[in-house]
Symmetry: C2
Subunit: 331 residues, 2 copies
């Protein structure tokens, strides 16, 4: 591997001149030619460590993600990555396997590695997170959770919840099981439910019960089975698509047909909800677009441009076969 000094010697100039050439300083035409020639001959390319050492900063955005094997994560990462590439930044992924402790470690580790900025695909913001973000002097952007102290990009969980509530009511459903998750997850556990509740409160005669389960399919399946036995809802409104899939599995094993005997909705817009049969009605979020937007934001922050503190990403209700129109049913 050749160094800047090799180029300098080959071109017969000082290495400072080569450096200036590379970084757009003032260099004469004749010298430019010689340096270009030397670089072409050797295939020289600067050592990024030497550059970062001096600059005390990289052009890398560290991205902390709780898991790699989720539709939301991978789509978001793809969006971030593609947009960063366009802006000549790199993305470095740290997968924490849903360990909050590893999240904290990653923050410090990214700071130590002189990342230009940090994006956190957040599930829960603890005091430790806040302390870590404040002690490292690196720009930070949260995705998926909102926090007053930091820049964040969230999905419109509240309005998605509201729209889903309206949708379900308009289809004629009144006996509803809302299958949510822990309230420690503000976006998924609180906001979606609040939006949904608001829609419910606007009509009378609703029999709605609220339940809580975990994020994974088997847990949701188990919960659904119990709820079906005790409450016999006409519809499950699930806080995530995975939970909806759990409900689907439960209904298969109970011999309940969808949507005739039981309707189901989800949140997320995961690919799988459209692949399976019946397709699941869901509130689709635009993860990839959100990732792209996040990339632009963090680069804005890195370059100390003015960036809105809170950005809200859109959603869309996708109608599929898992919900029937009760008003159109033959009597």
């Amino acid at each position: 591997m050749s160094t800047i000094l090799d180029i300098a010697k080959l071109a017969g100039v000082a290495k400072s001149t080569v450096s200036r050439y590379l970084n757009g300083g003032s260099v004469g035409e004749a010298t430019k030619k010689k340096i270009e020639q030397a670089i072409k001959e050797t295939g020289y390319s600067p050592n990024p460590f030497a550059q970062s050492l001096k600059a005390k900063k990289t052009n890398i955005i560290g991205t902390i993600v709780p898991r790699l094997d989720s539709y939301a994560s991978s789509q978001t990462l793809i969006g971030i990555d593609e947009q960063l590439k366009k802006m000549n930044y790199q993305m470095l992924i740290s997968n924490t396997s849903q360990s909050l402790e590893r999240e904290i470690e990653s923050i410090y580790s990214f700071a130590n590695q002189k990342m230009a900025g940090i994006i956190l695909l957040a599930t829960e913001i603890t005091d430790q997170h806040i302390q870590a973000f404040e002690s490292v002097k690196v720009p930070v952007l949260l995705i998926g959770q909102e926090h007053e102290d930091f820049h964040s990009l969230i999905h419109d969980d509240f309005h998605a919840g509201y729209a889903m509530g309206r949708y379900v009511l308009e289809k004629g459903y009144r006996k509803i099981a809302y299958l949510g998750v822990t309230e420690r997850d503000i976006s998924v556990g609180v906001k979606r439910k609040q939006g949904f509740k608001k829609a419910i409160q606007e009509v009378a005669d609703c029999d709605v019960r609220f339940y809580e389960t975990l994020f994974n399919i088997p847990a949701a399946q188990e919960s659904a089975k119990e709820i079906i036995d005790e409450f016999q809802p006409a519809i499950f409104v699930c806080a995530t698509d995975n939970i909806a899939l759990g409900v689907l599995k439960a209904s298969y094993s109970e011999g309940i047909t969808i949507p005739e005997d039981l309707a189901v909705t989800g949140f997320g817009g995961y690919d799988v909800t459209g692949i399976i049969h019946p397709g699941i009605t869901t509130a689709k979020f635009f993860y990839k677009e959100a990732g792209e937007s996040a990339a632009r934001h963090i680069v804005g922050l890195v370059n100390e441009r003015n960036v809105e503190k809170l950005t809200v990403s859109k959603f869309e209700i996708i109608e599929r076969e898992s919900v029937d129109n009760l008003f159109k049913r033959p009597l």
Copy 2:
């Protein structure tokens, strides 16, 4: 951020002594104490760029992946990542969005960034790949494709194909559509088919036709529709789970019931094949375990230990509802 010089001053020693302390050289007891104390006070942690600049090497394994949003990719990445962490290495992901050109770029870029080793989740090995690997002096490991010049870890596509063939025949199917992919993908397009063919050749009276489609679900759905019209197979043996999902969609829209009117099998063992109803019979590969194994291999190569050139990862046939037992059907 404090530097090694700050620590040296605080402890009243030379910075070379601090460096020796950090790297396990000979340091007296009293000095050790002082340095420990200074490090604790400042929270010092070495600048990785300065270290890498001198060492001309990092402890990072660059991993090139054609896409992030596939079950196989994400599981493999998780396996690599977890194992590397255990061995005190880091993983850096480069997503190429299925562009071969970007794959080549990534190889050179990783070399330039002094990666200790490179793992490529390969789909196709071109001359450009070979040239790139040979010109950078970095250890390389291929996953998913085999090449005589490089170390590789592959799934046992041939035997999985054979086992799937045997399975299908044992269930009594004889009118079979094999829905494969391009032969440029040796593992998926050639090996699986060859294994399957071998099984077929062992029995008489088989009516098997071979088709080719793309990797994505809509394309597979389209192909399946045509094949159903022209050939009316009793079963689709699909080269990937995604293709099997396409067949499923096609049969829904054609009003064909699975497995009564048409059976389907896949390869891969994607989560979704077990979530949906009917579940898809598939040859499951152990992506995460393969990733872990790959991590151990590349680290072995980096440390110039002797590593087998070719490793074959296991598979398992998972029986689900998408295939019937024709021999047990009532007449």
